[in-house]
């Protein structure tokens, strides 16, 4: 067995002691910790900068959109009212009720035995621009059966108007169909008379 003599053992021990120097190790640890803190701060800074960049983009977008939005809000009520007004104007023109064709129909269905004494017509328009026509026809019917003649006249009006308008209602006013006091001579025959009031109501068909 060979004998080894370490003549540098003191130098080695000194080097070992220096390597394990707690102050040096603490210093090294401190530097590493400092580096970690710097890295962590840089990371946090970059995260915050990213968020701030996004915020700045949003601010720019908001400064661009805010005036547009204010204008849009101002315009919205104006446009809605304009839209309503446009619609009302167009409907006023297109949804007009024409009375001349109605008079034409009334004249066409009135036989010689019927005399129309008065014709009163009213156009009612509700808030939703729905129109209703009310007619009141007061007249005298002549014939062997004047009440039947008046009833036939009512049917004729209803049948004629049903083809042209909606929700047609043609009724005698309550107790309005009465025998007339006078007789009339028609084609050489003396005929009895009946007076009547016919109330007509209907809705014009929409043009659109």
């Amino acid at each position: 067995m060979a004998l080894h003599l370490n003549l540098y053992h003191e130098i080695h021990r000194q080097a070992q002691r220096e390597r394990r120097d707690p102050v040096k190790l603490a210093g090294l640890g401190g530097v590493l910790f400092l580096v970690f803190l710097v890295i962590w701060f840089s990371y946090r800074l970059s995260v915050v900068n990213g968020i701030e960049r996004k915020r700045n983009e949003l601010r720019i977008a908001w400064s661009r959109l805010e005036p547009q939005m204010n204008k849009a809000v101002e315009d919205e009520s104006r446009l809605l009212s304009q839209q309503k007004s446009n619609q009302a104007l167009v409907e006023r023109i297109h949804e007009r009720f024409y009375w001349a064709p109605l008079l034409d129909q009334c004249a066409a269905v009135t036989p010689p035995q019927i005399q129309m004494l008065t014709l009163t017509g009213d156009l009612e328009t509700d808030k939703e621009n729905h129109k209703t026509i009310n007619l009141l026809i007061r007249g005298v019917a002549a014939g062997a059966q004047p009440r039947t003649a008046a009833e036939d006249y009512r049917h004729a009006i209803r049948d004629r108007l049903e083809g042209l308008y909606k929700e047609v209602s043609v009724v005698f006013d309550a107790n309005s169909l009465e025998d007339g006091a006078e007789n009339v001579t028609y084609h050489g025959q003396t005929l009895g008379t009946a007076t009547f009031r016919i109330r007509v109501q209907f809705t014009p068909k929409s043009a659109r």
């Binding site: 915050v48 968020i51 701030e52 547009q68 446009l79 007009r96 005399q115 009213d122 156009l123």
Partner: protein, 188 residues
């Protein structure tokens, strides 16, 4: 292991410096950064819904503008109204214009009565003017023909009421009364 007084002083000094450095790091560097971050996130949280709302309002307004199906036709009608409705009070021109029309129809000049104006119309710059036209003596058929012509010619006019009575002395003629409403310029 024995520390000298000088070493202890150094160690204490180092500990104080480290504590100060950590305090500075935590409260003067990370702290304000965190506050900046929180404030920014809060601002983003308010900006994002505002932006969404603004975009939706702009889109909605654009849709309203684009969706007005009657706009083009209404503009055309307004152009016609501007051209065809005379300026001035209706009493100055309406009876003349209508009387001329009925004269051409051969049924004579009606009597004109201006009715109280109803509420303002929905049409900016225009109001509805109501008139009653009275025909003391007119044939039923002639009246119907004239009315047809009037309704075709005066597109802004609407007959709101009519009354036709027989004249006892002459069954061939009638007494008629027509109430019309028409658009006129709204002048102050």
């Amino acid at each position: 292991m024995k520390f000298t007084k000088e070493q202890i002083q150094k160690a204490v000094l180092i500990v104080i410096l480290i504590a100060g450095g950590l305090w500075y790091y935590a409260f003067e560097m990370l702290g304000p950064l965190g506050k900046r971050e929180a404030a920014t996130i809060k601002e983003i949280a308010t900006l994002e819904p505002k932006l969404r709302e603004a975009k939706s309002k702009i889109v909605r307004t654009n849709a309203i503008e684009a969706g007005d199906a009657h706009a083009a036709e209404a503009q055309r009608i307004y152009a016609v109204m501007r051209a065809e409705i005379p300026n001035g009070q209706p009493v100055a021109w309406l009876p003349t214009r209508f009387a001329e029309f009925f004269k051409q129809q051969g049924i004579g000049k009606p009597l004109f009565r201006c009715n109280p104006d109803p509420a303002e119309s929905d049409f900016p710059g225009y109001k509805i003017s109501s008139w009653t036209l009275e025909f003391p003596s007119v044939g039923f058929v002639a009246l119907g023909m004239a009315l047809a012509g009037l309704e075709n010619q005066e597109g802004l006019m609407q007959v709101t009421n009519l009354q036709i009575d027989s004249v006892l002395a002459n069954p061939e003629v009638r007494h008629a009364q027509i109430t019309i409403s028409t658009l006129v310029k709204n002048e102050k």
